[in-house]
């Protein structure tokens, strides 16, 4: 990993104040597409909540780590010098913490007026909960996301941390950062981005809110068309205790699924007759139980029935389609999702494995314009190891 990153963001420099969760994933998205992202880690090293070999900490991939002891004023000065040479900074502390470290937006934008300063939190920079702790499950519980997921009559189901931390969090942070960079290239001025997981997860729900307002979406989870309420948009258990997903929303696909399952369309209820959905679900469930998951997949090939196997995290990288597309790549012996989306002329890449905290301190400082004397002085002052 060198400053010769590949991708549409090549040449863009970003400082990431080290943390866990959504900020590292945001840093990964930017690094995957070519930005030179430098993580500022604590000198002692922080294991990211998972006490393992850094190579498994995939969210840190593709960038260099400089360890700076930000309790030391010389280190804060060094961080500010990096900020002066950066296009963007991303951080995910609770509101006020970056300010206390001496790296708040006012200080950083004074040092570098064109800087894009991205702040990633759960609750946002203001509002009564702004300084409260929380986790993904809490943020999505306030935006209608968590309420909407799960079986009818059952508890809300947890979509891992993909709709809060990563979907509603990091993706919006990264989108906001590049959008503000585009603007600052023209205006010469940076700004502060408040990326909050409550905002992002609510934004992901926009179309569902519209359907709700129109009276087409019940508050009762598991009873709607896209939340496993409909028998034709659903998962079914197969003979080998695995799962198949079907999504036969359109009349054409519905007919194809009926044919695949061996039902006579004339003897089946109308696709949209909700009162008969339980009956259809039972009929489908019984037939799906008669073959294995992979038998159904083979049978459905080319049938236009919107059927797919429910693959585990272990299986997904081996699926022929994802293999053909190289949706997963292996880096340093660890299988991991490839950068997305894909670019025809300036493709992104996994620019390198996750670093050890502090692995590149001297190299980064050198590359970003520190003289050997300045680096030595920082070491002398105990600001870097």
């Amino acid at each position: 990993m060198t400053p010769k990153q590949k991708g549409p963001l090549a040449g863009i420099r970003i400082v990431e104040l080290g943390g866990v969760g959504p900020v590292p994933f945001g840093g990964m998205l930017l690094a995957d597409l070519g930005a030179d992202v430098v993580r500022i880690d604590r000198p002692a090293g922080y294991d990211g909540g998972a006490p393992v070999d850094p190579k498994f900490n995939l969210l840190n991939r593709g960038r260099r780590s400089a360890a700076l002891d930000l309790k030391n004023p010389a280190a804060v000065d060094a961080a500010l010098a990096l900020v002066r040479r950066a296009d963007a900074l991303i951080e995910g502390f609770r509101p006020g913490v970056a300010e206390r470290l001496g790296l708040g937006p006012d200080v950083c934008l004074a040092a570098n007026p064109a800087l894009v300063y991205g702040r990633m939190t759960g609750w946002g920079q203001d509002g009564p909960l702004a300084r409260e702790p929380g986790h993904d499950i809490n943020y999505i519980s306030l935006t209608g996301v968590l309420h909407s997921i799960g079986a009818a009559g059952g508890p809300p189901a947890i979509p891992l941390n993909l709709t809060g931390d990563f979907g509603g969090g990091s993706l919006y942070l990264a989108l906001g950062v590049v959008s503000a960079l585009l603007e600052s290239r023209a205006s010469g001025r940076g700004q502060v981005i408040d990326a909050a997981m409550v905002d992002g997860s609510a934004s992901l729900m926009t179309l569902v809110y519209g359907l709700h307002a129109a009276g087409y979406w019940n508050d009762e989870r598991g009873t709607n068309r896209l939340d496993s309420g409909a028998p034709w948009y659903q998962v079914y258990a197969t003979a080998d205790d695995r799962w198949i997903s079907i999504a036969a929303n359109e009349a054409r696909f519905w007919r194809n699924v009926l044919r695949l399952l061996g039902f006579d369309e004339d003897e089946m209820p109308d696709q949209h007759d909700r009162s008969r959905w339980p009956e259809v679900r039972e009929k489908f469930a019984a037939v799906f139980r008669t073959r294995t998951r992979d038998e159904w997949c083979a049978l459905a090939e080319g049938e236009e029935s919107c059927l797919a196997p429910v693959l585990s995290l272990t299986e997904a990288p081996h699926h022929p389609h994802l293999r053909a597309r190289e949706t997963f790549v292996e880096v340093d012996g660890v299988v991991q999702p490839a950068p997305a989306p894909r670019f025809s002329r300036t493709p992104g890449a996994v620019q390198g494995p996750p670093p050890r905290p502090g692995q590149h301190t001297g190299e980064v400082l050198g590359d970003w314009g520190f003289t050997p004397g300045e680096v030595a002085a920082l070491r002398e002052a105990g600001a870097i190891a």
Binding site: L58, L142, G144, P159, G167, G200, M205, L313, V335, F343
Partner: protein, 373 residues
């Protein structure tokens, strides 16, 4: 001028699911987004499966203008080509090969406009054996390995509506890629083609889980891990009134705070990280939470570090004090809209406009755009 993308012109070929969402995200940030629809397009009606979703409820069209063009007629195709020639971005979501057959493939459009960012947003992507296969969100999320992991132990996987495929892994990843390519094109003067596949985007969202799995810290068996309802301290619990409480007390300190305010004797409870004791611990927590209604628990945990929150419905979400103070939702044209995200300090976008029922006149739009204003 408002929003960081003010001045960026985007042409979107009407479709369902993620493509309009990409248009909305770009429009929310100030881009001028024009959606090309066929005369008398009925796709929204198909989605609602009723006699029609009224324009003001089709929230993805907020701030987006529509023009009508009949793509079966060469004059309609030529008009769209002219429009795209004056645009920065083109977004389409047909199966591979369809845009080409319409005469709106990347080669044709990039030849007329070499700086164009041409984004293709599909479920399975432009290549691979399933590229031309039909599918929907639940299929793509299933294919990527994410859906399998979203289940309670021994139960069916539950799709998180269509948030992960259509919107996060699809529309948002595409929007991110589009802005990255725009940034690059401003330097190089050259556009390119983006292949945004929902299977890739959702897989990308599982990066952390893939790393934990590779390290042996995340089991393939759903509902047995710390973020998938396996751990009793990270789950939802039913209150006395049938409503639910979200408990995210991962850290030891927060977990202690959570227990303290349950107001029951926990001396004999299994330890937080004693996996063998998790089933018992879950029962004990469930019994304790079932003793009070949701609102009472919400008041008890408000302002504490326990990471406990009420699970709110759509209408409640808008009224929640935190969300209300942040104006997380806005009422526009009678519908509750989630506000644009993220938020920008200097180039805050204007308020989203109500989705408009009437299309713009294509000819006059062409004149405006071709005039370079």
């Amino acid at each position: 001028m408002s929003g960081p993308l003010a001045g960026v012109r985007v042409v979107v070929l009407a479709g369902m699911g993620p493509v309009p969402f990409t248009g909305m995200l770009l429009a929310d940030m100030g881009a001028e987004v024009v959606r090309v629809t066929r005369p008398a397009n009925r796709s929204q009606r198909a989605l609602a499966n009723t006699d029609g979703l009224r324009p003001e409820h089709d929230l993805a069209n907020r701030g987006v203008e529509a023009v009508e063009a009949d793509l079966k007629e060469s004059s309609g195709v030529e008009a769209v080509r002219q429009l795209v020639a004056a645009a920065d971005v083109f977004v389409e979501g047909y199966r591979p090969g369809v845009a080409e057959r319409l005469g709106l493939g990347p080669e044709v459009l990039l030849e007329r406009n070499p700086a164009l960012v041409y984004a293709r947003l599909t479920g399975y992507g432009q290549t691979g054996p399933m590229a031309k296969q039909a599918g929907h969100d639940i299929n793509y999320v299933a294919q990527s390995g994410a859906l399998h992991a979203m289940a309670r132990a021994g139960e069916a996987p539950r799709p998180p509506i269509n948030l992960l495929g259509d919107y996060a892994g699809g529309g948002t990843v595409a929007a991110f890629g589009i802005v990255c390519a725009l940034l690059e094109a401003r330097g190089s003067g050259r556009g390119q083609v983006l292949d945004a596949a929902m299977v890739d985007g959702v897989a990308l969202l599982t990066a952390k889980l893939q790393g934990l799995r590779a390290a042996g810290l995340f089991a393939d068996e759903p509902g047995t891990n710390w973020l998938d309802s396996g751990a009793p301290y990270y789950d939802t619990y039913r209150c006395a009134d049938g409503r639910y409480l979200a408990v995210g007390a991962l850290e030891a300190d927060f977990y202690r705070e959570f227990l303290a305010r349950l107001d029951v004797d926990v001396a004999d409870w299994p330890d937080q990280h004693d996996r063998a004791g998790w089933p018992k611990l879950r029962e004990l927590i469930a019994a304790a939470v079932a003793s009070k209604p949701q609102a009472e628990w919400a008041a008890i945990y408000a302002g504490t570090d326990a990471c406990v929150t009420p699970v709110l419905t759509f209408d409640e979400a808008a009224e929640d004090p935190h969300n209300a103070e942040r104006e997380l939702f806005q009422r526009i044209g009678g519908a509750l809209h989630p506000s644009p995200a993220p938020r920008f300090s200097r180039t805050a976008p204007r308020e989203p406009a109500t989705p408009r029922p009437e299309p713009l006149d294509l000819r006059s739009l062409l004149e405006t755009w071709a005039g370079g204003s």
